[in-house]
């Protein structure tokens, strides 16, 4: 069986940056047997090592791109990435975006790599997660579990399905 990995990244002490960990925690109880679920700080070089040998990887992280808080972006990295500055919140060493670009350059990206980015509102010190981000958690979990069940064979997901109709 191919190796599937879900990596929640972020900092649980920086407001909405905790969402990667919160989503991955929920995924643990709902994902197909054999899926490995990890929580990391988001050090890019660590990620390059962590996903080595995995066939299907889903990284969950908070993002800031100026969209409404709670909006989910689900990206198939091998089909072209976004502007990676979106993910440059890490203050130390190599960010997720840089890790992905470095992995591309080195030819070491997993064959199926998705990033589930959830738009955050506040990244201030503290453990409170904003209401809109909390509301996005079940939607993100559903999307990740479904992708795992499909073994990464992504389908086109309408935005309304990702983010509700409101």
């Amino acid at each position: 069986m191919n190796k599937a990995l879900v990596i929640g990244i972020g900092n649980t002490l920086r407001g909405d940056d905790a969402v990667g960990h919160l989503v991955s925690e929920e995924v643990k109880g709902a994902c197909p047997t054999g899926t490995i679920v990890l929580q990391k700080t988001g050090n890019g070089l660590d990620l390059l090592e962590t996903w080595k040998g995995a066939d299907l990887v889903i990284v969950v992280d908070a993002i800031r791109s100026g969209n409404t808080a709670g909006k989910i972006h689900f990206l198939d990295v091998n089909k072209g990435g976004p502007e990676w500055d979106l993910f440059g919140y890490s203050t130390h060493s190599v960010s997720l975006g840089e890790a992905i670009e470095l992995g591309k350059a080195l030819g070491t990206l997993p064959p199926k790599l998705f990033v589930c980015g959830i738009e955050g509102r506040s990244f201030e010190l503290g453990m409170s997660v904003s209401a809109q981000v909390k509301e996005a958690i079940p939607r993100a979990v559903k999307l990740i579990v479904e992708t795992l069940e499909r073994r990464g064979h992504a389908r086109s997901i309408p935005d309304e399905e990702l983010n509700g109709t409101d």
Binding site: T41, N43, L45, H92, S93, E101, L102, A105, L106, G107
Partner: protein, 437 residues
């Protein structure tokens, strides 16, 4: 145009708003008139972090874990200087095998930190790439070698420290748990491969093209009384022959505030000085392992080296040494009877000095009778190098004023990166005085 106006020297400015490929937040402003640098400020605007203040009132046992949070790249250095200071305060002398384990943990950090800097932050400067990603596109196998080498540093940190970043196994008096010989021996194959990769790294960087630039530096590093290269212990020595112990640090080295920086600037007897790999190498060449020394001689790299751009070679030789030293320690290791010894709190002052990857790291603590910290002082390597970096920049710009603005800006950034500055560390300090100008 009048003759008077014609004579007026051209004025130009070099501004690097945000320094790339350094740890933390800083920038550079330079004003040059003709060939003279009129103003130069290495701006450090990383917010101050007040570690020395919030150590007050904490128990002596907490200092290693609290101070390790100053930096994600060199947490071991903070832990080692903290335990060294606390043990000097409390008259605790851990047995030799504990010292060896600490040294090995520190080797892990040197390998990890140095390799990150060599491959991802500094080498792109020499090869004309914007950054590591562009370099990886052209030289993927070289970057993979660097990442593999760095991973060996992580393995050492994980085994001895309990995890790769911010180790949790270090305590005053020793370790919470000491590994078995068998556990350490399992690292031998990986370390042996890393040593070979480190040798290739030395040959690789030694072939880079280096700007012709030298200055007479006052190099400062530790030097130990036994025959090993300075890492976790030793007496401070300098090029001009100064020699002093950790308890005399404050007599020789003073820190001062400058308006353009949230980091303090340090002076040795009133003058700038240089700490880090180049200083250690120049002052301790005879203490390198025989194989690292031979490697240095093979590439013609022997003291005195006064070109700061060549610090990348010294750094790569130290990676080789750290692999060598970790292997030596594994082969001679005997598990300690107890992983740590207990201390008895007393009213005291303790001093600790170790060699962080970037240079000397000083800790001083004042404890009350119950072992509660009453005062703390931390002097990281980057704030000791800041004045020297500014002087390098000034003289380099004046010597190379014919270069284009773009080329000069590029070289200035490269020059700053010679020191692998850790701005996050240097802005940890306590005394902040904001003045409206």
């Amino acid at each position: 145009m009048s003759k008077k106006e014609e004579k007026k020297p051209t004025k130009r400015t070099i501004q690097v708003k945000y320094l790339a490929r350094v740890e933390g937040e800083g920038g550079l402003d330079v004003t040059v008139e003709g060939k003279k640098v009129k103003e130069l400020a290495l701006r450090i605007f990383e917010p101050p972090r007040f570690f020395e203040a919030f150590l007050r009132g904490r128990k002596y046992q907490e200092a290693p874990d609290i101070t390790s949070r100053i930096c994600g790249i060199c947490p071991v250095a903070y832990q080692m200087s903290a335990v060294s200071a606390m043990e000097s305060a409390l008259h605790l002398k851990p047995e030799n095998s504990i010292q060896q384990l600490r040294r090995m943990l520190y080797c892990g950090e040197w390998i990890e930190s140095h390799t990150l800097h060599i491959y991802l932050l500094h080498a792109p400067d020499f090869l004309g790439f914007e950054g590591a990603i562009e370099m990886a596109k052209k030289f993927p196998e070289i970057v993979k070698r660097g990442l593999g080498l760095k991973k060996t540093g992580n393995s050492l940190m994980a085994l001895l420290g309990g995890r790769e970043i911010h180790p949790i196994n270090v305590r005053v008096g020793g370790f919470y748990r000491a590994p078995s010989k068998q556990e350490l021996s399992a690292l031998v194959p990986e370390l042996s491969s890393a040593r070979a990769a480190a040798e290739e790294t030395v040959h690789w960087v030694s072939k880079f093209s280096f700007p012709e630039y030298e200055r007479d530096y006052e190099f400062v590093s530790l030097r130990s009384s036994d025959s090993v290269y300075p890492i976790e212990r030793g007496q401070v020595v300098s090029t001009s022959g100064l020699s002093f112990s950790a308890s005399e640090f404050d007599d020789f080295i003073k820190e001062e505030q400058v308006p353009h920086s949230t980091a303090l600037h340090a002076r040795l007897k009133g003058k700038p000085y240089l700490v880090g790999p180049l200083a250690r190498f120049n002052l301790n060449f005879d203490r390198l392992s025989p194989s690292t020394r031979k490697l240095a001689k093979d590439i013609g790299f022997v003291p005195p080296i006064n070109n700061p751009f060549k610090s990348i070679i010294a750094r790569s030789l130290e990676v080789h040494y750290a692999c060598d030293e970790a292997l030596r320690i594994i082969f001679s290791y005997e598990k300690p009877n107890e992983p740590y010894s207990e201390a008895t709190p007393r009213t005291s002052v303790g001093f600790g000095l170790t060699e962080a990857p970037r240079g000397l790291l000083y800790h001083q603590y004042k404890l009350d009778k119950d072992g509660i910290i009453e005062a703390a002082q931390i002097v990281p390597p980057t704030s000791q190098n800041l004045m020297t970096i500014e002087e390098d920049l000034k003289s380099f710009i004046e010597e190379n004023s014919e270069l284009s603005q773009k080329e000069l800006g590029w070289r200035c950034e490269q020059l700053i990166r010679n020191y692998d500055p850790c701005i996050s560390c240097s802005a940890h300090f306590l005394k902040v005085k904001w003045e409206e100008l």
